[in-house]
């Protein structure tokens, strides 16, 4: 997949109303692969912490025999963090306002994850 395709995948997510930014993060390393973020968002910190969170939840899912982690939705008072792991080991991460249409963002994130695998 080329850098242009990475950016297109992110653009489809950030086009959803209420999304503040989206990133592709190397799941093992917590480093940014591609990003499209609003000003003021600490991308490096979000990438490292989201990857750490996803790894821990993956272990929780394994330990509780609930299967492969598909979607993480962290709801906070001032926003939401959504994470979808792609087969390639990359995480699709989106940051959005609290009242964002989570279903729509999730759909775009799953499409981005599929595109990354393809």
């Amino acid at each position: 997949m080329t850098a242009g395709k990475f950016q297109r995948a992110l653009e489809n997510i950030t086009r959803v109303r209420g999304v503040r930014g989206a990133m592709l993060v190397a799941g093992e390393d917590g480093l940014i692969v591609a990003e499209s973020l609003m000003e003021g968002v600490k991308g490096k910190a979000v990438a490292a912490l989201a990857a750490s969170l996803a790894n821990r939840f993956r272990r929780v899912a394994e330990a509780s025999a609930t299967g492969y982690l598909q979607f993480l939705h962290l709801q906070a008072f001032e926003g939401v963090i959504l994470t979808v792991p792609a087969d390639s080991g990359v995480l699709v991460v989106a940051l959005a306002e609290p009242k964002v249409n989570v279903g729509l963002v999730r759909l775009e994130m799953l499409r981005a994850a599929e595109a990354l695998a393809g």
Partner: protein
């Protein structure tokens, strides 16, 4: 594994915070000459000394490579293994240039380590006392100070 031990006590609080937040298994703070200021996680003196000497040598070698390439010093070096990663970086402090060697496992990542390393540097620079005035080095003082440093690092 052991906790945090330091020759320079002002390094303890920032180092403990870093280790907790970054999920580091082993950490060494040292001078470019390999003199250890603080360590976390090492159980044996010989391991600390070897790691400090090797870490300082790596930074020296990469620094020389940087100079050959007409670059400024490399800021950080990460070596990713199957089970562990090694993060090695230098930074400026009121005590001069210092180095940090961090070993992390699969419960952490280079992203987390480098993120919290920036905080560690800020904390260390903020808490670092001004350098003490230089004294002549006497053989008796040298041995006593060496013993005190080893006792601080390993509680012996």
């Amino acid at each position: 594994m052991t906790g945090t031990r330091a020759v320079e006590q002002w390094t303890v609080a920032p180092l403990e915070r870093f280790v907790t937040e970054a999920g580091a298994r082993l950490t060494l703070l040292m001078t470019p000459a390999g003199q250890v200021l603080a360590q976390h996680g090492f159980a044996r003196a010989v391991d600390v000394m070897s790691a400090a000497a090797l870490g300082a040598a790596i930074v020296s070698s990469t620094g020389e490579l940087a100079r050959m390439l007409a670059e400024r010093d490399f800021t950080a070096l990460n070596h990713q293994g199957v089970k562990h990663g090694i993060f090695l970086s230098g930074f400026e402090s009121p005590r001069g240039r210092l180095l940090a060697l961090v070993v992390y496992g699969p419960d952490s990542s280079v992203g987390l380590v480098s993120l919290f390393f920036e905080e560690l540097v800020r904390d260390l620079v903020a808490t670092c006392p001004p350098p003490a005035p230089k004294k002549p080095v006497l053989a008796a003082d040298f041995e006593r100070e060496l013993n005190e440093s080893l006792a601080s690092l390993f509680g012996r």
